[in-house]
Symmetry: D2
Subunit: 121 residues, 4 copies
């Protein structure tokens, strides 16, 4: 997260937003944000969102996730918004949408559906 310059922009119970300013060294061959980076911010947002509903002294790990890349990830800034759709004692299921933002324009560029696990420290 530090390496790529991402920031935790919003944290509510079960809902987290991470933002990332565009940087040329995070882009693939066509100048769009690399799918791996899109995934990184979506996965991080999912993990924090699940974590926000877990009891104290928990740790969160990603079990699995699926990403659909919907459009070229272009924008000055990117926003990954994750929402818990099922918070279980052990497993939580989280959905995240990633938007590319350019001035007033905000376009959905990817969506994730993933499973997070709660571990007691």
């Amino acid at each position: 997260m530090n390496l790529i310059g991402a920031e935790l922009a919003r944290v509510e119970p079960g809902l987290v937003e991470i933002t990332l300013p565009y940087r040329a060294d995070l882009a693939q061959q066509h100048g769009y944000l690399h799918a791996g980076i899109v995934t990184t911010i979506a996965d991080s947002a999912c993990g924090y969102a699940a974590y926000s509903l877990m009891p104290p002294n928990s740790e969160v790990l990603s079990v699995e996730f699926k990403v659909n890349l919907l459009r070229p990830a272009k924008g000055e800034t990117f926003s990954a918004v994750a929402e818990v759709i099922k918070a279980g004692k052990t497993l939580s299921v989280v959905r995240a949408d990633v938007f590319g933002i350019d001035g007033e324009q905000r376009e959905l560029v990817a969506t994730m559906l993933g499973t997070m696990i709660c571990l007691s420290r």
Copy 2:
């Protein structure tokens, strides 16, 4: 790929391996390789593997992928091995395994199943 130090180690028709030496700035809070980085090398390997079977003047894009994170991604080096399981005219389906390598030890840390699309330039 350059940013993280990954290298194309093997390219055969329908089979590609990417290797990545461990770096502390690619790790998450416990010192293991970040899930986003694991995904990045798996996705890149899948893309190249699909691309290796496409006609000249094609471009490859990831449509979607799913990753299962099986174990903490620890190792001195990581290897993502991707193999095309269906090469279609438009869509190709690719499977990738990511291994953490420590001396003689080689452990499966993640597996990906993804869909790549072929675009004509």
Copy 3:
């Protein structure tokens, strides 16, 4: 669809609902609706939703889907609601939620994220 008794309850552009009354022969060992049946109605709803936005003389096929099974699929009736989140010329990405309904109670039992392809006849 006929075999299991499912019905198309709602069709709007990009949005489709399929309903299925519970039947004991569609259940697994604990009496809940079998995951394969949950998937069948979700996939069918996704296919129709994508199809509703395709040009005339198109055919729709499922490329892939992922399902998270969130709770035991119990209910007198089940409802799969699918919504297109990206309608492309070739590929469409669709999300579906499956609810178990018991009188006034309506609980999310599964969610699907899938990719459909448009073929010209």
Copy 4:
């Protein structure tokens, strides 16, 4: 499983095969096996494969799975072969391939990657 006529053809530790003879009432509009049925036998094979490695008095449930439908599911018989790729105390990750069989010909029609959970009774 009974409804559709599927049979457990092979059970080894971590490896299970389920077979299903073609039946017209399991087909979709083009006469191929319905994606929901393909998924049902793949999911069942994954569940049994995970279960075969679990301690006594366990129960197995599907957490999630992803299916890629690779070719039209045609054949006189179908075979779903599932193999555990990571058996954990709580979660197991399983891969399944579904083949359509016609005389000597055996074609891969779908592949699944899924997560199963072990519950103690």
